[in-house]
Structure formats: structure tokens, C-alpha cells
Symmetry: C2
Subunit: 300 residues, 2 copies
């Protein structure tokens, strides 16, 4: 089943304790699409400026990603993010954000996108996410991501969105901020009671938690020793998860748990290099091999 | 198989964001013994002062713990620890430590203890741990815990100890301190190369990692919503792990992984109330039931 993602496409500048990269391919919708492309056809909806290097679009297309929804605005500049990781490689500081063309992003989805069964609303203003959601009344699985900025500035709108989506994916700090509860198990269930049928809390190097009415579980991250750049890990997780659900055309509890695991594994590859550099080198077979090791790790 | 533990017995004063308890039963060897008592006979070796309430010893005996090695020193005071948890309930501040009688602790093990196959050296000075180890040359599984204080003040002695023990258990911050590496996967293997055949890194609410020459794995914590007081969780983990190994009289890779899981589950009960209050209310059957849920949580 095709999967639609609406979110940011960016040029990232990333500093880690040992290395630095400027203006590399990034953005939530980019990591999401690339991660999901191992499982299904992804339709990417986003916007860039005329400074956008065409080879980036080519790279996405080479993985079968449908970039018809990627608007290039003449005279405008692409969204830019600059960040720096602390020595633990799990916490980061945002040094600079230039929304540029993304500030006016007001997507009108194609007929093809509107008919899609699977929709992911990547991190963005809740008002924007709601506008997109309204264009896809027939979608059978809609999942959103969010962040501190929108929790703080659009709490009411986010509350309305949570009544409308099937799932919410967010990180641990955001779940604590949204609920005011430092216990993630309680926070997860509290968010579920705000509307969505399921909630996923991403914990970075510590894996991810899942909450639905009848289930609460935690899956650990895959223990890779090669953490080079964590940028995009969370979006890769969501892409792997949604991609697998779309591939299986199902979101029953068993498939959701497998999807969580695939999300964790794609993310474990993403962090092994900057930007998409590591993902570019792997195939579905590498993911399945790591899945075998991961299942073995968790059985006893 | 009986299991010997040498470590501290203390009176703890604990402050959490919502509650406070003064002079409750604590200490590494207490949490360890009680946790291990669900699986095997434990011989506790420690020291207390004459302020030690006899009912605490009775409580330990009621679980079948052999307290013959618990020396009561007349005129002396018991080890006291006072700490305060931050709102996240994972990080804490030590407000006061009074070593008291524990400062002169220089245990001479009984013949029975010296013949024990399973030995746990709870957190203490490396010099003390080494003295105990030398009294048990026939032990087939020796495991030690340590902490920042000894890593900083007895690094050389700790290095010698690591050449002699089979396993080391420590928390994430201590593993980073010992190796200078912020990546726990690399840190775990680096510590293994200092001597022990296996290393376990405890990650609090995020579970535990295991490292041996041929294996690297992570098991998540059991997601309990009821975290009341995390004091003793790490020692309970070690007690559950070692207790299970002693019960099975084995430390092959399969048994070690099951033991890690039992350690995680005993710890998940420990944090659900102050001191031993929660453990006092559970049976082996409760542990086995939670194990069933835990296995289910990790299968997909």
C-alpha cells in the first residue's frame, strides 16, 4: 500500500564531538521517506527553495520515492537546521533554524495522495497537520509526530488533532512536556486518553515504548557501537514503522509490534553515519538480517 | 546452591518528590539478599552497630536468609545513607553518608561461606572486595559491583580485582566514568577487556545490557507505572540475577540471559515502594507471572 508523508525537507548542518557536516540532506520527511522506502512506495509531500540540489531529489527517486509532491519554489530558500550533539550523542542543542520556504508551507495534496490509506503527519505545526488530515478523510491509518515547539505554542490545536489521528509518535522529553508526568508509562497512557488509539514514545538510545488500550510494551534499541550522527533517527524510526504497516496493509497488534521493531532497526542504521549516508548503503536484506539478530537478542 | 554476598547493611533516609522515609532498612547486601532469596539460600556477610533493630534481622531470616555472617558491633553505629530523588526518579543526590561501623568492615568468612560456589561482592572498596575474594579460591562464579567513589579513589586496585572476578555489574554512569567512553556498547566491551568474562551495565528505568566475548544484548526494564522509590533497584537486580544462577547452578549463556530477566523483574517490584515494602508482599509466583508478561512483551 502506498504511504503518504507530509513534513519538512531540509539542509542540515551537524556538529558531533568529533566531526562536522554542512548542508547535508535532512528533514523529517526525508528520513521518513527513505526509511519507509525499504517496505513500500512513499509519496513525499513537502517544499524546497531554488537552492535545493537536484541530485537530492534524484537520490530519493532512486529508492522509488514518489517526489511529485515536492514543490520547488523559485526565489525561495530551503529550510535549514543547524545543531550540535553533546558528548553522550543522545542530547543535542539547536544552534540555528531558518524555516525559509517551509514557513509558508500550505500543501494541497494530489488526488492520488488523498486516496492513500496510510498517512504520516511528520513534525510540524498542529494547524498544518490538521489541514492535511482534512484532505484525507478516507485514510484508514493516520499517525502524527510533534515536538516541544508545537506543544508549547499550539497546545489547543494539538489537542484537537489528537482527537482525530489514530496514532501519535513523539520522543520522551516531549511526552513528559505534554503530560507534566516524568513517568513515561503513565505519560504514555495519559496521551492515549487525549484521543489517539495508540501512542509511541521514542527514547533514542533506549528504544521505544508502545501504548494502546490493551497493551503496554518497551522494545530496546539495537545496540550499535557505531553512533556517528543521531540526526533523523526518530524520523527513520517512524518511517520504518509506517512503511512496514503499509507493506503489510495491516495495523493489528502483532503487525504493530513487528513494525516498531523494524522502525528501531532502520534507526539503528541511520545513526551509523551522517545524513542518509549509511541508509544509502543498505538493502532490505541487511534490515532483515539485523531483525534476525534482534529477535535472537530478545528471546530467552 | 547457596550464594554468598558481602556488602553493606544500612539505615536509609529517602526523599522522593512526593514522599519521605527516615531510617528504613537498606544497604546493598540487604536488597541483594532479599531479591536472591526468591531463588536460593543466601548467606549475608556484613556488619551493623548496636542501633540495629533486631526486627530487621528477623525480616531477613523470615525469607530464609542466613544472617550468621551479620556481625553486630557493640558501641558502634550502623551505616547511614540519606538521599533525594530528582523528579525523573532516575537520578538522585546523596545528601549524607555516615559509614560508621562499615568503615572498619574487614570480614572473615566462615568455612561454609568460603566453600560457596557463588559469590557476590556488593559495592565497596576494591581492596575489601579483593580480601574477600582471596578467602574463596574455590568459588566458581564471582561477580562484583562497584561505584564512582572506588573508580576514582581505587582505580588501580579495581583494575586488579577485574583481573580476578568472572563478572562485573555496574550502572551506566559508572561504566562511562571507568572507560571515558559515552557509548555504552563500546564501554561494555572495553570493561570486558579489563578482565571479567562478562559485564552487565544497569541502566535504571531503561533496563540492562550484557557483554561477553560472543554476546552483546540489551533487555528493557519492565514498564511499571508505580515508581515510588528506586533505592535498591540495582542491588535487587544483581540479587535476582545471581540468585537465579545459583538456583540453576549454571552460568551458561542461556541461563545468564534468563537470570538478567529475573534481575530486571525483581528490581521492577523493588521500585514500587520504599525499602523492602513491596518485595515483602510478593512471592516467587508473582515473579513468574511478571516473567510471563515480560516474555510476551518481548516476543513478536
Amino acid at each position: 500500500m502506498p504511504l503518504v508523508v507530509v513534513g519538512s525537507v531540509a539542509l542540515d548542518s551537524v556538529e558531533t564531538p568529533t566531526q562536522k557536516r554542512d548542508n547535508v540532506l535532512g528533514g523529517s520527511a526525508v528520513f521518513f521517506s527513505y526509511a519507509a522506502s525499504y517496505f513500500t512506495t512513499v509519496r513525499l509531500v513537502s517544499v524546497v527553495g531554488e537552492d535545493w540540489p537536484a541530485e537530492h531529489t534524484e537520490l530519493l527517486r532512486s529508492r522509488g520515492i514518489d517526489t511529485a509532491g515536492l514543490e520547488v519554489v523559485p526565489g525561495a530558500k530551503t529550510f535549514r537546521w543547524r545543531g550540535k550533539y553533546l558528548p553522550n550523542m543522545n542530547d543535542r542543542e539547536t544552534l540555528d533554524v531558518q524555516l525559509n520556504v517551509f514557513a509558508q508551507f500550505d500543501p494541497v495534496l494530489s488526488e492520488e495522495c488523498r486516496r492513500s490509506k496510510f498517512l504520516f503527519l511528520a513534525n510540524g505545526p498542529a494547524t498544518l497537520q490538521m489541514k492535511v488530515l482534512k484532505q484525507c478523510p478516507g485514510a484508514s491509518l493516520t499517525v502524527a509526530d510533534t515536538m516541544d515547539l508545537w506543544i508549547n505554542s499550539q497546545r489547543e490545536e494539538l489537542g484537537e488533532l489528537l482527537q482525530q489521528v489514530d496514532g501519535l509518535v513523539m520522543n520522551d522529553a516531549e511526552a513528559k512536556l505534554l503530560t507534566g508526568d516524568e513517568n513515561l508509562v503513565r505519560a504514555g497512557h495519559a496521551i492515549r486518553q487525549m484521543g489517539p488509539r495508540f501512542v509511541v514514545i521514542k527514547k533514542g538510545e533506549h528504544g521505544a515504548m508502545f501504548f494502546s488500550k490493551h497493551e503496554t510494551y518497551v522494545l530496546p534499541a539495537y545496540p550499535t557501537p557505531d553512533v556517528i550522527d543521531p540526526t533523523g533517527a526518530g524520523d527513520s524510526f517512524a518511517g520504518g514503522m509506517m512503511g512496514y504497516l503499509a507493506e503489510k496493509d495491516s495495523f493489528d497488534p502483532e503487525t504493530l509490534k513487528e513494525a516498531m521493531a523494524y522502525g528501531i532497526l532502520v534507526a539503528s542504521f541511520t545513526v551509523e553515519d551522517f545524513s542518509l549516508d549509511r541508509l544509502e548503503k543498505i538493502t532490505r536484506q541487511d534490515l532483515d538480517q539485523r531483525m534476525e539478530q534482534y529477535r535472537k537478542m530478545l528471546s530467552f
